[in-house]
Structure formats: C-alpha cells, structure tokens
C-alpha cells in the first residue's frame, strides 16, 4: 500500500501548494469578487430586463461611439509607443557611458503620474504655452496651434506615459536575444539592415506583440488625461468617461457596470487578435545554441 502523500505527490500535489492560499485569497478578494459583483449589478438595471443596460448602451449612439473614440486614441498611441521604443532600445542594448542616465531620463515619465503630465502639457502646449510662443516668435505660425483640449493632447499624454513602459519591456526582450546571432549574421555577409530585419526583428516580434497588448490596455483605460488635456464631451469622450458619468453623475450603477464590462470585452478582443497573430510567429528560444 503506497502512502497517500506519495500518491498525491505523484500527481504533483503536496503540502507546498498551501503556500498558494494567501495569493489565491488576495486575487479572489480584490479581483474575482468585485468582477462578479459588477457583472451582477450590470444585469439588474432599474428597467429593461436583464440585458437592459447593455441594450441601452448599444442603442444610444452617444454611448456606443465611445468605443470607437477610445480605440482611435489607444490603438495608434500603443502602436507608436512600441514602434518608437524599438530603435531606441536597439541602440541601447550594449554597454556604454551614460546608459543609466539616459535610461533614467526615458523612464522618469512613469513616476510622474498622468495628472502631472497633463498639467505640464497644458502649460507647455497650451495656446499661451512655451511651444506656441516659440513658434509665433519664430514666425512659423500666425495663430497658436490647438494642441490641448482635443485629440492631440490626449494622444501626446498617452505617448509620454506609455512610452517608458514599452521601452523598458522592449529593452528587456532585446537583451534576451543572443548578441552572437547578429555577429554570426555579419560574418555571413549580412549588413546591419539585413541583420536587424532577418535576425533580430523576427526574434523580437513576439515580445513586441506582448508589449503592444500591455501598452494598449494602459491607453484604453485612459481617464484623467482624457478629461484634463482632452475634450471630454466631444472628441475624447472615451468609454471610461461614459462609465463614470453613468455611475457617478446619473447614479445608474447598472449602466456604469455595463460600460465597464463592455470596455473589458473590447480590450480582450484586441488582445485576442494580437496574441492570435503572435502565435503565427516563431516564439521559441532566442539563444543560438548551447553554452
């Protein structure tokens, strides 16, 4: 007769699994419970039956259009963040003097928070900000450019706060690629462009997809900057504003929860598409062999 503990261990079950309990409780308390609670709320509107809140969201163009508005801001911002961080991270792979300082400068915007960034943008890019005053003084424009309280303001704010995330992730993915691969490419006659596009980029692409998903999720839930530097009742009326208004202006918790859940579903669809495309790529090891 084999002891019970041995038979359980055979199936990968042993006492160490109890160490997972605190983390499981934490996730249940902070994520699963609120999620189910919100789902429940969204299915109990004051009128219109179980799916009333959802039906109302999709029939009202003012609410429905927030999906496209948000996508129009978040997708290009996430894409730009990823694309811009590739060449910078690529140049910063190796060791060089001042690398730490440069990394710090590039990463600082993370620590500022969206509100401070928005304040800065208003002061810098506003109609009487330095940027416009410089342009006017240099005679490049006749009237100040409108760069805040519209789409551009929110977009810039998302780039400033999202870029450091994308950059740090891309840098770590790049550092994971064996540098001897490009050296091998060079000895085989490949110039720098061929080495980048045929060796490094294919190995980096899965990482770029993951980076895109993460920065997209950050950008999609944009809220403070959409209000502070955007046009919250028009061109930057994003879905989180719709959810906020429903819940805390109209006190319609069902509609607010429904908007929040729709937001989650849209994010999941985008992520599923990106990860689906990613699975078509080579996703194995990025080292060149043993040793």
């Amino acid at each position: 007769m084999v002891a019970l503990s041995h038979r359980l261990a055979d199936r990968g079950i042993d006492r160490h699994l109890f160490l997972l309990v605190p983390a499981t409780l934490f996730v249940a308390a902070l994520f699963i419970y609120p999620f189910c609670y919100g789902l429940g709320l969204s299915l109990q509107p004051a009128q219109g039956g179980t799916f009333g809140a959802y039906r109302e969201f999709f029939t009202d163009a003012y609410q429905r259009d927030t999906i496209m508005t948000t996508l129009k801001i978040a997708l290009p911002a996430a894409l730009l963040n990823v694309v811009a961080s590739v060449p910078i991270a690529y140049k910063m792979r190796g060791r060089f003097r001042g690398k730490r300082l440069l990394t710090t400068v590039l990463v600082v915007p993370i620590t500022l928070g969206t509100v401070l960034t928005a304040e800065g943008l208003l002061n810098f890019l506003g109609p009487t900000g330095w940027f416009n005053r410089t342009l006017l003084a240099a005679g490049i424009v006749d009237t100040p450019l409108t760069l805040t309280h519209n789409y551009t303001g929110v977009f810039l704010s998302l780039v400033i706060t999202g870029f450091p995330f994308a950059f740090l992730l891309v840098l770590s993915y790049l550092s994971g690629i064996d540098p001897s691969l490009e050296r091998a490419g060079a000895t085989l006659g490949a110039g720098w462009a061929q080495r980048f596009f045929r060796i490094t980029l294919p190995l980096l692409a899965p990482g770029l997809a993951t980076t895109f998903c993460l920065t997209f999720v950050l950008a999609f839930s944009v809220f403070p900057s959409a209000i502070l530097v955007g046009d919250p009742s028009g061109s930057t009326r994003v879905i989180s504003i719709a959810a906020y208004e429903a819940a805390y202006v109209r006190y319609d918790y069902a509609a607010g929860s429904a908007a929040a859940l729709i937001m989650g579903v849209v994010e999941l669809i985008v992520i599923a598409v990106v990860l689906g495309l990613r699975s078509l790529l080579y996703t194995g090891t990025t080292s060149g062999g043993k040793g």
């Binding site: 064996d178 001897s180 691969l181 050296r183 091998a184 490419g185 060079a186 000895t187 085989l188 006659g189 490949a190 110039g191 061929q194 045929r198 060796i199 294919p202 190995l203 080579y282 194995g284 090891t285 990025t286 080292s287 060149g288 062999g289 043993k290 040793g291």
Partner: protein, 350 residues
C-alpha cells in the same frame, strides 16, 4: 575557393581593453590551406585574436593583409571569412536549411544555385534528414555540424573556429575533431582554430600559436612545440607537469631540493643561475635495478587503464608526478631515473 589568397598576414595586431593589452603585437603569416591553432589558457587573448581577424572587434594597433589588400578596415560582412562560434550562434527561428542558406541569400545568388549549394553542404555534414528541423530540435553535435555547414557553404577564403568543441561531451569531441580535419582537407580550407585543449591543438593543426597574457610564446609545428617548448609556460601547457625550481651547478647539471639531475638547457643560462627544470610524467621511469635511481615514496595513485599516474615524494620533500605500468600502491618505495634528453632546463622567470 572563390577568393583564394596566397597568404594572410597579421602585422603587429594588438587590442587593448580599458588600457590593458588583451592581445599585443601578434605577427603571423597564414599560408593558404594551413590549419592554424591558437592555443592558450583562458584570458590569453586567443579569442580576441580571432574576433579581430573576423572583424567583430576593431584593432587598437596593427594591420591585417590578404595578399596586398588591407582587411582590418573592412567590416566583418565584407571580409568573406566563415566563422563557427563557441555557442554555435545558430538562428533559432530558421530551419537547418534556412541557417545554411542564409549567407548565400545575403549574396543574392540565383535560387537554383542557393538550393544546390545548401543541399551539398547539408549532405557534407550528414544532416540530410534534419534539414527541415529548427536548431532547438537538434543535439549539440548536430547543431555544431550545422554551424560548420553554414560557415563553409560560402567557400570562404578563411574559416575561423572559436572553441567549437568545448560544449560537447568527450566521445563526440573526438569524433568531431576528425570530422573538422576531414572537411579542412577535402574542401581545401584555410582554418584558424582557437582552443585551450593542447591535445586538440596538437592533433589537428599544421602549426600552433601558443599565447599567454596576450603575447605569443611560441609558433611552430605540433612536434616542435611538443618536444621543444620555448619557455617554461609553454612547457607547462604541453604536459610538463613536473616543473622544479633548481639552480644550475655546471654544464647541464642542476641541483635543488636534495636532487642532482642532468638535463638539456633551453636558452642562455650560466652556472649558479636560478632555473626551472621541467619533465613530463611519462619521461620519469622506475629504475630497472635497485640502487640506480632516486628513492621516493608513493603518495597518491590514480588508475588510468593501461598505466597508473602516481604522485611521489623524494626524501628532500620534492613532489613528482610520474606514469608507470607497475602497480604502485600508496606507501610503496620506488627508485626513479630521469631521461636527461627530456629534462629541459629553462631560465627562471619571464
């Protein structure tokens, strides 16, 4: 050979890192068809030399010439050398076939020629069945053969190999050694091979370059380096395990540690100078008759199949390594004789 050369000349090639020389004043002329081994302990500058030659590391001083063309100013991709890396550096996202064809594609050769030469190279290293696999699905020895095929498919004027066998197990290493030598001969390659394994260097190369601390210690055929090491460092590296600090008495007789031995002088030494006497374990023999040799006591015995390697101590406290087919046991007394032709006397220091 597409762009064969008569000779490749390294002229005072030096490379320093942060002020200290990793490689200093390497002068070497490589003739077409030669197999050159760069040999030395880790940190001796042999990989630096190889990377300088490949163009992966700029020189600090010196120049490299292919006949009358200056090479050291060209980037790696325009030197036309093949290189096999220590970790193979196979492109993990390309199949074996894609890896081998990569260099041919970079040259924009016609598709038919790429296919023909790729197939040929894969057949040469006997990987036909694995052509469609990714490197990750291959064993170490197979990956190593892909790396070789990828380097030789371009018919490079020079093939550089950076410790290509160091990640393989002992059996495979022996097999691949023969394989590399076979390819070198059948393809008429010129090869520069970096290794820290003296046996590998001796058995494969036509000429050896022994490096230490970034400086050349000796250049010569395997036989020259093996039997006439230029200094005690080369001797130590070539299996002279017994290196004894002694003093030259007169002529070619040295004494120290209670021993008086006759040997062969290497270099200028005067009577009374401090010297190092070097001899291989296999050149110390057990005396045939009692009373003939130096009495020692056996301390440690290692069984090595055909013979044993023993560590013995003289009454004066000198520790000696020897090999014998007699079954010595720890504590056994024995008498030793030294072969005077094989006992080399080097000046101390340097």
């Amino acid at each position: 050979m597409t762009d064969g050369f008569q000779e490749l000349r390294l002229d005072g090639v030096s490379r320093s890192f942060g002020g200290s020389d990793a490689l200093a004043d390497l002068d070497l002329t490589i003739r077409r068809g030669e197999f050159i081994a760069l040999l030395g302990p880790s940190g001796c500058g042999k990989s630096t030399a190889l990377n300088c030659l490949a163009g992966l590391l700029p020189l600090t001083r010196g120049s490299i010439w292919r006949d009358d063309t200056r090479l050291d100013t060209l980037p790696a991709e325009r030197r036309g050398f093949g290189m096999v890396f220590q970790n193979y550096a196979l492109f993990p996202h390309m199949t074996v076939r894609g890896n081998v064809a990569f260099g041919l594609r970079m040259r924009r050769l016609p598709r038919a020629e790429i296919n023909r030469r790729t197939d040929e190279a894969i057949r040469l290293v006997r990987l036909d069945e694995h052509a469609a696999k990714l490197p990750g699905q291959l064993s170490g020895g197979q990956q190593q053969r892909v790396a070789i095929a990828r380097a030789v498919v371009l018919e490079p004027s020079l093939v550089l190999m950076d410790e290509p066998l160091s990640n393989l197990d002992a059996m495979l290493r022996l097999e691949m050694r023969t394989e590399i030598r076979r390819l070198h001969q059948s393809l008429g390659l010129t090869t520069v091979y970096v290794t820290h394994d003296q046996e590998e260097a001796l058995s494969m190369s036509d000429r050896l370059v022994v490096l230490r601390g970034g400086r050349v210690q000796q250049i010569g055929t395997p036989e020259q380096v093996h039997t006439q090491p230029a200094n005690r460092h080369v001797a130590g590296f070539m299996g002279y395990r017994n290196i004894l600090p002694m003093r030259l008495k007169e002529g070619s007789v040295v004494e120290g540690g209670g021993l008086t031995l006759r040997g062969t002088k290497v270099g200028e030494i005067a009577a009374g100078d401090a010297v190092e006497a070097a001899i291989r374990p296999e050149d110390i023999h057990l005396a045939a008759h009692p009373g003939e040799g130096i009495e020692v006591t056996t301390e440690v015995v290692e069984y090595q199949g055909r013979e044993v390697a023993a560590e013995v101590r003289t009454p004066g406290g000198v520790l000696l390594h020897l090999r014998t087919d007699r079954a010595l046991k720890p504590g056994d007394k024995a008498e030793l004789v030294f072969d005077p032709d094989r006992l080399l006397i080097f000046p101390e220091g340097d």
